[in-house]
Symmetry: D3
Subunit: 287 residues, 6 copies
């Protein structure tokens, strides 16, 4: 188990679902046309610079499809590679290689896309941490959050039951102080984060006992002011900046002293990384 | 059931999975802090111009979460709307509205993103059809293919068992003529498509009895030549163009006479459409 | 993966379901009475002439039940064998052999029954192809369609999303020409089949661009006339005959020039092939 | 809940699986071509004399597919009907009626086929009970056993964990007396049945404390002798006759005094009952 | 949704599993013997003083079993009731009431047992919070953690992915300071708890930046010393006491100033609360 | 497969569910902090005298989590061990050992708790059998019933479809004689048990043909009278005593001549057996 690995069950069930979905009721009509005894080796090649994620899924695809297929990797999740890099190989029955190719690549390309965009943000952000959000694709969260880790990012809440994040609609009618009090009373020990639009809210949140503040849609200057409030509090307040953070402007937040920026761009809209199979079929004569 | 609707079971199971994933073992820690009897109405508002898809999923989220929540829609899947358009509303317990918000939006934003990019391609393509591919996200294919239809696109294979598509690796060692013969023999009646890199292959595929040709990575001029071959055959050959088709160059293929272009850009890398909930909480006094 | 193999996930999930169903909450009460260390070898013997299918399922039964059981096969799916033929063997713990016996046989007998009836039809049909239908047992379609292939038959639609088949109720109110136009427009490239009761419909379907016609409940003479229409069209029309095709009369359709006959008899009502385990228990002394 | 109803969960999960299987990733391509607002009413009509089973499944198909479809039944499971009888109706969106038709019928035809064959055996058997076996189709046992009840049959073991049935392979090396002793010791209170090939075994089984004997492949005369042994024992021994029981010879066992005959013919090889939808589409004008 | 409610999906799936498990392949053999049209009303009565939990599960049992059964509750989860209290009623078909009784009670008795023991600890603990642990029954965690909340307890980690808890085996080879540094670096913002056996570890954990300390197997006096260290730190350290906390000695920890005690006794070994159905059958005459 | 083993599928699915539940979306946050290449060996040690059950589950936890972890056992399910006994060992990656520890122990502690209480009852009961009930935890019945067997107990019904048990509410309106008649008619061959509160009912049940009587809440003297009735009947009546049986009074029933006592105490409220991992980490230097 490497650091960025997803938990095992989500890998197993996502792969089983994906294979069932792609093979359909009749299986691979086209692969059934090639000789049953033909064997092949596919090089898994990255066609554009990026960061790899999803290796456990790709391995699992062939493990479930055909135990006779050997899969080897030259990099781990989190590995940064240039265009044209061979990152692994898949050898076995030509039919199995052809049938599993797309499913394996659908995982690899999507998850590596997330890792790659995350890495870009991380590099652009300087020392500020890059957090993901709950804006992930239904059924793929555990895999996507692992891909964020592979890209050097940090996971915000895995689910609504991790810790408390009070947004404006939670605060309506009760206010920050009361909401934080309730949070600390009902879910003691856990992080309590408060979304703030302006400095007064930050002050109130800190006084109330919040452990994290989420500065939403603030300018870098506003962030600087709020970070100051947090640091002056003498408490260990985690300052997260969110809303409108882009690859272009993220460096400006790096200088504010905030602890992290968060963005849905690294999951929800990350383009797939272009990865392909270069399949070499061995000589064969049909019998 | 509207034309673009996904099948029912994938909606039900994807939503159940998504809710389990997002609520976690303890449920929504934060929503539990707002008054149990507070009620709210959320306007579902599109924040950028786009095409809507995923309505059945968003409805199902609240149906599974809390039968007391009313969900109404002002558009159907496939509806094109401008930034700021209210497309629906969700009313009920404030807790349920808050808890279901992100899961509903994760479906809506992702699937509407696909529909929106598809619509852009369809509009840029002129009269040429826009096909999707099997480059979809594991476990979400049925939903993503429905979103492509919502965007005016056309579905290529739903799974490997729909029809035959012979790519270069399938042809290795047996050749087009033999491969098509096998395909027609083993899977008679179904479409048989052959991926071709050059005109000679198109001729051979047509002679062999293929019903579709996929022109891979050809220039518009090459496509024109191949379309000519297809039309001269007097058979009803479906000509698909693939590889390197972009929003910028797709119009150039529209003039070639090809029947369709296909691109993974409409699924695999479609950015999410920005959609949000504007939640209005009713006056409430805690008891 | 042999040609007739079912896809992997349906095998795995059907076997898991079957074992859970047959072992019940307490497991095999009776097998628990035999000595834990007794070992046995069962010959899998076909008691009536037939064609084998379901080998992957039978293998999977013991793989899931007890990894220490060795399963070997002397034939592949599709193999035609005479009464009394030993087709394989199962060796291991006597308890596991006894516990898995019925589940393995339930798959083998049912699927081999389908393969056997299919083979009979194929032989009686002469050169005409024998197609299955969607009249399969719920949850077993992928396995049953593979058994049809094992018997030499050909798969018609795997699901409603494979290709278009317009029956009379689809045509009501819109007519063949319009229905085919819609089909070709919405699902371009795919096969479009039209069910026809009489020759005029065949002509209309062909003119409209259908690629397959299903001649329903026609006499062989009517079929001959319709085949003539299809062949005169100079298009590549697949002619399927359906309705009232029996083992007795199928040869009469073979002479009509049709491409295929289809019948639910090969799936829905195929009697099980009689296959059994001949278990030889090794000498043992209880400790 | 009527007497012959299957348990609820198997109905729900079998229907969900069947719909997912039949709708495929793209849904019903053909139904999508008919007008979205067209409505229809289908009469469910039995085309051959038989006994109905599977009504709960057919109802569930439309409940899961489209809550707007109304399903009504004129008979219950177990109802005997003549050819041409309308047994129910399905009304709603034409698309939903067309899409659900085959799945609903696959349940109805298969399960009614079982009920019908069971009823034939029951009638031919006179006063002797007709038992089913564990020779059922994987994943469908609960539904098939309910269909047997609908046909007037009686359920033998639902799973291996119901009660004890000692066959020859269980007896090898330990013998009847010891095997029955173990069974009564380990699973006290439950039925213990012993498979017997000859009269001496019946005597031994009864002496050992078995509560049921299964007379395997005996002639009616041999059965008479064994029944006599059972009745003379003054214990309440249930005598089951199995092996080679057919519709033709079952009456001969009725006169032997045995309590029941069992046969796999009523499940494993029961031909489907021919049931169809007669769909009447209402007038509609497309908008 | 009340405060102590479990998330919806775990309720649905646990109930579906439980019903499938208890009804078995043949359904309720015994309930099938009572008249199909008999109706009954069951009072759900608590036979011993306790706190109620599991109402959502009991309601769901009948919703899944028979939509015609009406279930009403006189208390909510968390309600404390005396022996003999009627807490709800179930009315409908006698068969359904009998069939669902045990499954509904299995949830209610187990979860109310947890709530009841939790309440006892909460009352004995005075102002100190009572935390649960991850020592829950496989597959029932979400329900058991909700029952703890119903009893007035507080949830510690829902899963290993909530926050960090460093136990001695995690510290081996790296030490507290380094381990906490890693935790804060990799999972910033989240709670970081360190298990401590002695005061020096508490000091080190606080200096390193831990937000929670778990005092394991300490005497009340040792706890007092450690609490003093935590409070002197001027940081907001959550002090949890664990190991050997019993209903008898928990009050001694209440006076130490610790924030919470945790114990597996409230989940892992809580005896079921005795709850039963008092069923009144209405007069009926069989037809 | 040992005698007390649970069926395979419940083990596999319960473990998969438990791991998914405990690892959560992000996996084990804490284990990710220890060196990836550190290895460890854990001794599985019982901290209190008891009987072991659940070994198959604990083995399966690590098989699913990390195939590189070796698990060995020094006892089998059913083994009675003293406090401090090492019952097995788990060796492999430190991360995997730490991550799987709690899930493996949750199975072992709960199931061994059941086996231990069962063994206590068995020993206290003298020669009378100890039966379990259907008062088990939802989703865990197969595992809990296997644990009862491990403890020397005997399984009563696995599900409602095993055999007939007529309780007072089933008898209302029809009476014992008629109810037993129906049971024997509809479910012939199976055990039919009647719950009796007083001797007259026992007589009626026996006359009616019941094979088991459940003497509910009777004093030992009443039991003696009822056993006499049963033995005088010359039929093989299984006499079960239930209601108010405790570890303290169970011996008094041993002298009544009844065949068995049943109690929910051995499942529903069995406290967990204290079992832990003693983890020894090997020397490691981080690279």
């Amino acid at each position: 188990m490497s650091d960025a690995d997803p938990p095992v069950e989500p890998v197993r069930t996502a792969v089983a679902r994906a294979l069932e979905e792609d093979l359909g009721p009749l299986g691979d009509l086209t692969a059934a046309l090639v000789p049953a005894d033909a064997r092949a080796t596919a090089a898994v090649v990255v066609r554009a610079e990026g960061v790899i994620a999803g290796i456990a899924c790709a391995t699992e695809v062939f493990a479930q499809l055909d135990a006779g297929v050997a899969v080897e990797w030259l990099v781990d999740d989190g590995g940064a590679v240039g265009a044209g890099t061979k990152i692994g190989s898949v050898s076995g029955s030509l039919r199995a290689v052809l049938t599993g190719e797309r499913t394996a690549l659908n995982f690899l390309c999507h998850l590596s896309g997330i890792a790659t965009v995350t890495r870009s943000f991380v590099q652009a952000a300087g020392g500020v941490r890059v957090l993901d959000t709950r804006k992930t694709l239904p059924g793929l969260r555990a895999l996507e959050k692992a891909a964020v880790r592979a890209g050097g990012g940090v996971n915000h809440r895995g689910s609504l039951s991790d810790f408390v994040l009070l947004k404006d609609n939670h605060l309506a009618g009760i206010g920050i102080t009361e909401a934080v009090r309730r949070a600390r009373s009902r879910w003691p020990g856990r992080a309590v984060e408060v979304e703030c639009d302006r400095a007064e809210q930050v002050s109130e949140a800190i006084s109330a006992g919040a452990t994290m503040v989420l500065l939403d849609n603030m300018s870098p200057d506003e962030v600087v002011s709020c970070v100051k409030l947090a640091r002056e509090s003498m408490r260990d307040i985690f300052v997260e900046v969110s809303g409108g953070v882009t690859l272009e402007n993220v460096h400006r937040y790096a200088e504010t002293g905030a602890d992290a920026v968060s963005t849905s761009a690294i999951t929800q809209s990350a383009p797939a990384l272009d990865i392909g199979f270069d399949i070499g079929t061995e000589e064969f004569a049909e019998g």
